[in-house]
Symmetry: C2
Subunit: 160 residues, 2 copies
């Protein structure tokens, strides 16, 4: 393909030649995991790692039905488009329903978490800066403040 | 919403509060168009223009059935995911079929064009750097070299 331009064909939300990794597993490592609380999340890094001129990475995350990503925050923003299923996103004090093709902007330092609905996986594309800070998992206190909020109980009916 | 984080709800590939613009119309201008050849393309800028910390823009383009985007090249790369319909992408000398959720990387200076299939719109997300060079439309000679190629005739059966 000219100048390293390329098409990465997909089928059922898996991309040709792209490894399916566990959520917090390091690319090219395969051993490192983090202690942050999450359930049933896989990741595919579609673009970026091999394209230095790009300045960003495009990843696909899939949260299994009733699963959730890590509750965390960081300086780098997230640009997200839901492409499969539905669920909710926690953004700081707020909880919003999301479904395919809603767009989500996670601003710097917003505590956030993606939670799949009960019936099908929640899949989303997520663009981040190539060079970025490490996520900071919610402290026990931060997690409790969210999970014991009226908003959380109203939407999810209890703790995770 | 906390720290300007937000959800932009979607319905039928239109996003709440986001203007639907003609392809080459300037945001906030509404009058400027370019002479490049294209047919039946609209654009929605979902994220980026109001988020200086983001460094990128996320746009959605939709090419109507049998339409095509401008045949052009530029220094900035394109990170693309097809989300609706099918069609072809021209990448330099090659023509590749694309369908929802294929991923396309357009490397710097690759001449490229997105062409929808005959039956339904081709919709795709496209991430670009916030600061980027202007596209350079194909010259008549460059266009002819592609449209008279065996590859082009094999796929499309003639000129555009």
């Amino acid at each position: 393909m000219t100048d390293r331009s390329k098409v990465i064909p997909s089928r059922d939300f898996r991309w040709q030649g792209i490894d399916v990794r566990r959520y917090k597993e390091q690319d090219g490592d395969g051993t490192s995991t983090e202690p942050a609380g999450f359930l049933g999340v896989i990741r595919q890094t579609l673009l970026g790692q091999e394209h230095e001129e790009l300045g960003l990475e495009l990843r696909y995350f899939e949260v299994e039905a009733a699963g959730y990503s890590s509750l965390e925050k960081h300086r780098h923003p997230h640009t997200v488009v839901i492409v499969r299923g539905d669920g909710h996103v926690i953004l700081g004090q707020e909880i919003q329903p999301v479904a395919a093709f809603d767009c989500v902007y996670v601003a710097p330092w917003t505590m956030h978490q993606f939670r799949a609905g009960r019936d099908e996986p929640l899949g989303f594309l997520c663009v981040v800066d190539r060079d970025r800070d490490r996520p900071q998992p919610a402290t026990a206190e931060e997690r409790r403040a969210i999970e014991e909020s009226e908003e959380f109980r109203r939407v999810f009916g209890g703790g995770s």
